[in-house]
Amino acid sequence: MIQVFVTISVVLGIASVLAITVIQKSRQIGILKAMGVKDRTASLIFLSQGFILGIFGAIGGVLLGLLLTFAFTTFALDPDGNPVIPLLIDPQFIGISALVAIVSASLASVIPARKSTKISIIEVIKNG
């Protein structure tokens, strides 16, 4: 159950970070639209940003997870010298976790991507 809430909060976190990038980049998006970029293409920028973020997050998360697991089994020993927690690496579980990370990051970027389609060139030009 806790995983669900962690995922939700991560999705919201990523979405808000990306939403800020949309605002920061609205000038650039505006000028690209003036050059002839379509709304779909503009939103792809943010979708791919979310996807890339998800991939790096998944790689980073898996590596950190493995490192911590190895650290625990090496250093956290009971008086007999056996690890407190036995080493158990389940590739399938790692795969699913990585997938969840990528999918949730991509999903999170849908909101800012939609937002970017609403940027009007006129607003950008007027407000500099």
Partner: protein, 228 residues
Amino acid sequence: MVNTIEVRNVNKFYGNVVKTQVLYDINLSFEKESFNSIIGQSGSGKSTLLNIVGTLDQPTSGEVLIDGVSTKDMNKNQLAELRGAKLGFIFQFHYLLPEFTALENVIMPMKVNKKPITKEVIARANELMNLVGLDDVKDNLANNMSGGQQQRVAIARALMNQPDIILADEPTGNLDSDTTEKVYELLREINKKYKTTFIIITHDRRIAEKADRIIEVKDGKVHVDIRK
């Protein structure tokens, strides 16, 4: 001469609750290959007019025809395509993409319109850089240039697609008078060399007088229209 742009009975209102009329029944046409200037006080509606001509803004009523085709019923994608193919913009602020070099910024319109970046394209970008006098700094990031240089990059960028029409809203608003002079000479040169139609907003009367035609907008109406 053939008209490339026609503005027919254009009215523009702003605001939903309190409606303010900015343009009153504007009728104008611009000839191909002409060099036009629009002058007027701030708030006169000249920028709104230019934005409507450039399909960046929609008129409340009336229509704009570009090369005989009405833009009235086009959807956002069709308008984007039209802009990519026929129109070039130079704004008061350059809006370069800071992540890219000057040369890459100039090539951007080609990338945006999904045209292949061939050797000819790069050669043309280099030629344009040369034309605007930025050969030495073309590999600088957009932020590592002076204001005047950035504005000239924006001009080169507007020319990259070889648009038929260039719309410029106070392109030299942020530049000193010497650079202003240079930029206008450059635009004039481009107008002659590439047969590009220019519509330029300026508040500098000296500059306006160098154009083929001066249109003065006052309180949302065409006040004076002088052709040379």
